[in-house]
Amino acid sequence: MSDPLLKVAGLSAGYGDMAVLRDIKLEIARGEIVALVGSNGAGKTTLLRALSRLIPSTGQINFTGRALDELTPDEVFALRLVQVPEGRQLFDQMSVEENLLMGGYRRPDSAAVAADLQRAYELFPRLKERRRQLAGSLSGGEQQMCAIARGLMAAPELLMVDEMSLGLAPVIVDLLLDTLVAIRKEGVTVLLVEQDVFSAFYVADRGYVMESGSIVRVGPAKELAEDPEVKRAYLGI
């Protein structure tokens, strides 16, 4: 990991006077799938919000060698650090296709956007069937597909997927995890933020475990999945 894609050091953030994150250190190399796990309220989403610059933070964030501290969310997005937010946050009153096109909003090359749209439909044939339908009328699983596809339309270097599995049937979660593995093969690095420790470690190369605002464990995903302490805390075994 001589030249990490994302390098976070000494990051602290919170809302107003309330500190949520303390001294976060995290590195992601190109082409990795990294899982960030932790229980509800551990600060995972807050970390993503800080990385996307939706909230201010102190400490270092380096992405492709550039400091993100002073940037606005749209500038971070332009660097291709793309977030698929918790709860999908689709544009409910727009069609599936329009949602996907919004993912390519900042890309000047319309031919490449059109090609990526076809690619997204290949990955998710269901979305192609429903491309004229309003995103708000989709089922939960289809909405999550739409959210991930919208993220891919931004041609991300690093795709951060927040709570992808929440409220979805296991068969859908498996399908989405397979998709993440597939897009990693095409060169997209993935940060998977999950409460569902088991699915996250199943596809990830490495994992970070977060507890009340701090990183408490780091390691290869297979090792963390076998770690008795992690098992006890998150799997109840």
């Binding site: 969310p73 749209d74 793309v82 937010p85 544009f91 409910d92 909003y105």
Partner: protein
Amino acid sequence: MQLLWQILVNGVLLGGLYALMALGLVLVWGVLNIVNLAHGALIMLGAYVCYYFFTGLGWDPFAALPVAMSLLFCLGYLIQRWVLNLVIRAPMFNSLLVTFGLEVVITYLAQLLFSADFRTVNPSYAGANFSFFGATVPWVRVLAFGVALALTFALWLFLDHTRIGRAIRATAQNLVAARLYGVNPRQLYALTFGIGAALAGAAGALYGVVSQINPYIGAGLTGKSFAIAIIGGLEKSLYVLVGGLFLGVVEALTALYIGPTYTDVVSFGILVLVLIVRPTGLLGRTA
């Protein structure tokens, strides 16, 4: 019966213009969540731009319309960029107060610059008319109606079929997601407010052709635009058009059967009634 037909035709023609007036207010309200109380004042400015190009430079009022739109776009962009963006995160009441202040300032500056006299834009063809199934229809009104419809259609095309238009709608629907997907809200808001002001400018230019103007017409026109926004909702240009036509016809009928002084009483009576019975709007949803 003949009179009723004439009144209905008048109402529809006026209603098209009302719809254009409301369109800018609705756009800004829907996307920025700002009820722009200075909207009528911007319409008034558009009317004066047209007036001065007509009397000063001898331009045809319809040729002056794009000028009014361009100038008002710039003014709107600046107002949003340097004034309203400062209060955009504050509660809606703050922006309401700021736009109220703007309305007062613009109106009094207009009085200072343009004087309080009534002005009219009377092109040579102002008196020309034709008969439409027995109703007398002035050509300028038809032309104004046509331009209003064309601009409504153009806005719909822009919002539904362009990249920027899509971003404007996306921002209205989900601000957080729009920011995460590369929208710079401050820029987009300024652009949207500019477009709203340009539409006000166009409506003003047309208003000057069909009616008298003075610096104080703004407040009443804001009120009418607001009533149409409540009737038509904030979501579809088509509903705004329907709301505008509805208000135009209701006002014309009121003038005929109750008396011209009661038009505002009836239209705002309807507004209050809609707010009580269906606070979410009659056709579409308001905020």
